[in-house]
């Protein structure tokens, strides 16, 4: 065996100058090495993109009911028809409605002789983009008929469109919840770390106590306490507050321990000796030093809040219709009967898994990148 010192790694030619790079540049270089973290970032960007442009991307309005296609499955997009002829413009097969001779229920039947070609940026039902601009442009639509990529629910509402709108609400619950948790954690952790002593002790005991209460029962009890007659916006804000109330403890701990450690560092002492004000020391020297750790914690807290909101809404204690989140959509798939008739109602669940996965990947990458000077 050759000694490791003799095998020099082949240097790639690069114009990187680590000694000149800023801390954020170093972090980015380290982050880029994590392939899964990059994949996670792309998945997240796609989710955010579809949340931002939900109205345009969805072929229908989420409240719109299609009476000709009740509780029916996803419509496949085809390039080849039943005789294997290739069509450059993809199409969906036309559907006609029939009555079931026994139960008299409306059934939709695939009509393979007729095609509904798919068109992009078509005029459809009017809506207000971001509640501001009135328009009727939809990214995707079927000429001569309708298109339901993920099928419809028992009221004939398009699951695909509803999922896109729900992405917006679910991600925003996470975002708002994390922001609340971040502010609470930074302030309380900052107080504990800055004052130290008895204040620190009290706050740490409080955090320990909060963490010893099992989360889900606590969330359930708190959300059950919300008045039934509240509007969906009030419920939305209250739920995010409830989720943030548990999430802040982790952040507060990070802030406190980093503050305590950094207070004694040489560069802090040097800054103080050269006459910097407390404010400047905190903002210029301490904050950048633990900002990256806080970002990591936020990334880790995000999926937790997302999962919690979903579980609460799924049990009917979180958000309620007309507000739509992934959990609210899954609420319709609560019993075996409905999922065995309409398994496509579980598709929003796939989005939850993807979102949480993406956040976990990004969080892993960031955890490594947070300390760019380590090996």
């Amino acid at each position: 065996m050759t000694s490791p010192a003799l095998i020099l790694p082949k240097r790639k030619k690069s114009n990187r100058r680590p000694e000149m790079a800023t801390q954020w540049q170093l972090m980015w270089w380290k982050y880029k090495k994590h392939h899964m973290a990059l994949v996670g970032m792309i998945m997240l960007s796609l989710l955010v993109f579809s949340a931002v442009f939900a109205e345009i991307l969805s072929p229908n309005i989420p409240t719109e009911r299609n009476n000709k296609y009740l509780a029916s499955g996803p419509m496949g997009i085809h390039f080849f028809d039943s005789e294997w002829n290739f069509h450059l413009r993809p199409f969906v097969y036309a559907r006609t409605t029939k009555r079931d001779p026994v139960t008299l229920r409306k059934l939709s039947v695939v009509d393979e002789t007729k095609h509904w070609p798919i068109e992009f940026f078509v005029a459809g039902s009017p809506y207000k983009f971001w509640g501001l601009v009135e328009t009727d442009v939809h990214f995707i639509g079927a000429k001569g008929g309708f298109i339901h990529l993920f099928g419809t629910d028992s009221l004939g509402r398009d699951v695909f469109s509803r999922t896109l709108y729900a992405t917006r609400i679910s991600l925003s619950v996470g975002l708002v919840g994390v922001t609340f948790a971040f502010i609470l954690g930074a302030i309380i952790g900052g107080i504990a770390g800055y004052f130290g002593g008895i204040v620190d002790n009290l706050i740490m005991r409080l955090i320990e106590f909060i963490r010893s209460i099992p989360t889900l029962p606590l969330w359930l009890a708190l959300s059950a306490a919300l008045p039934r007659e509240w509007s969906s916006l009030q419920v939305y804000l209250a739920i995010t507050m409830i989720l943030a109330m548990i999430g802040w403890t982790h952040l507060a701990r990070t802030v406190r321990s980093k503050l305590l450690a950094l207070r004694e560092e040489d560069f802090t002492v040097a800054a103080r000796l050269s006459g910097c004000t407390d404010m400047r020391i905190i903002l210029r020297h301490l904050l950048p030093a633990f900002m990256s750790y806080m970002i990591v914690d936020v990334t880790i807290a995000f999926p937790e809040i997302l999962l919690a909101e979903t579980s609460l809404s799924f049990l009917g204690l979180g958000l309620r219709e007309p507000a739509e989140s992934w959990g609210v959509l899954l609420f319709a798939a609560q019993n075996v009967r409905s999922i065995s008739h309409m398994p496509w109602l579980l598709i929003p669940g796939l989005f939850i898994i993807i979102a949480v996965l993406a956040f976990n990947f990004v969080g892993d990458g960031m955890r490594d990148a947070a300390d760019p000077y380590s090996k």
């Binding site: 106590f209 010893s212 209460i213 099992p214 989360t215 889900l216 029962p217 606590l218 359930l220 009890a221 708190l222 059950a224 306490a225 008045p227 999926p303 999962l307 979903t310 579980s311 799924f314 049990l315 204690l317 899954l330 798939a333 609560q334 075996v336 999922i339 065995s340 398994p343 579980l346 669940g349 939850i352 898994i353 993807i354 949480v356 996965l357 976990n360 990947f361």
Partner: protein, 357 residues
């Protein structure tokens, strides 16, 4: 150098200014201290539980009146006041709390469930064994599966099985419990034509306990166990893998290998033993985690355990039942943490020394 010295076990600690209390004395002190702390936490939790169940606007009398209204037989104001008086709802909250706690401590009486018209202890007692059976089977299965896989993944890092386990672990961690339950229920329906909800087949539903019923329970238990255990197992595999990997690189492993111990013996005796410390020590927290996740699984799969009971008591404002459930869930968490601390001190001499100094 100091590091090496503090690791070797048979040094006379008094030489280093550390007083050797002996394990027994130390354990007694520790257990007593923790016990006091536990009781204080329980007291604080009971206040929180009481405040939580008082939070919803209105009380049980209101929700009862509401129900009567809907049933077409509205209740008069006088009857309502009477009911409040009987249930003690017209007294100030600190007196209600005092009665609740003192009855609980002195007589083991957790109050009366108005919804069920039975004492809370009876209602919970009926269903708690199933929750516990579920939690403990999940816990055991989690460890039995996770530890070997974690060690294997660490030793054969970046091999194909390692990648497969890692990917499965990521997905397992990202799937919410209730979604997994729904998917399993759907697949069970689809492929086995069997309803996987519930814990017993119809013929055993109300039957008295017998071996047949136990067997039937085990047949049904695996689905909720999988649902409850997947995320925890994924997390454990990751932890075992990471901590074993940390240990494998250490100098003492190299020294032992140079000494010529067989690889298997070496692995199990040194790095694995060290790596398992944090895993075993967090057993209590895993218990907490499983107990805390149990209600939602119970509700989705309509198990006759405490989950649906808790949810309905919250929705119907059946105050003492809800409060009792919150208290029991919290008690498990606190006991779990206690067990963790105890295990930690038992298996890791370093922590024992810290406690002594």
């Amino acid at each position: 150098m100091s590091r090496l010295i503090s690791y070797s076990g048979d040094l006379d600690l008094t030489d280093y200014g550390l007083v050797d209390y002996g394990l027994e004395e130390l354990m007694i002190r520790f257990v007593l201290g923790r016990f006091v702390y536990m009781i204080l936490t329980m007291a604080a939790v009971s206040v929180v539980a009481f405040v939580l169940i008082q939070l919803p606007p209105g009380d049980f009398a209101d929700s009862y009146a509401n129900k009567r209204q809907q049933a077409g037989a509205p209740i008069t104001t006088e009857e309502l006041d009477n009911m409040r008086h009987q249930l003690g709802l017209d007294r100030p909250w600190h007196i209600q709390y005092g009665t609740w706690v003192s009855n609980m401590v002195l007589e083991g009486d957790m109050g009366y469930s108005w919804e069920w018209r039975r004492p809370v202890t009876d209602v919970i007692g009926d269903r708690l064994p199933l929750t516990l059976a579920l939690a403990f089977s999940t816990l055991i299965l989690m460890y039995v599966i996770a530890i070997p896989i974690g060690i294997y993944s660490a030793v054969r890092q970046y091999s194909l099985p390692d990648h497969i386990f890692s990917t499965a672990g990521y997905v397992g961690l990202a799937t919410p419990n209730f979604l997994l339950a729904l998917i399993l229920m759907y697949l069970g329906q689809r492929w086995f034509g069997q309803s996987v909800g519930g814990l017993f087949s119809p013929e055993y539903q109300d039957a008295p306990w017998s071996w047949g019923r136990v067997g039937n329970l085990i047949e049904h238990l695996w689905v909720p166990v999988i649902v409850l255990g997947t995320a925890g197992t994924a997390y454990l595999i990751r932890t075992v893998r990471a901590s074993t990997l940390d240990e494998l690189d250490k100098m003492y492993v190299m020294a032992a290998r140079a000494g010529g111990i067989s690889p298997m013996r070496l692995l199990l005796k040194y790095p694995v033993r060290m790596a398992l410390n944090p895993i075993v020590a967090t057993l209590g927290w895993r218990l907490t985690y499983v107990i805390s996740g149990a209600p939602i699984v119970g509700v989705v799969m309509s198990l006759p355990d405490t989950g649906p009971l808790f949810l309905h008591s919250l929705l119907n404002q059946d105050m003492y039942l809800a409060g009792g459930m919150v208290l029991i869930y919290c008690a498990f968490t606190i006991i779990g943490t206690f067990i963790s601390d105890l295990l930690l001190i038992l298996i890791d001499p370093r922590i024992r020394m810290e406690g002594a100094s």
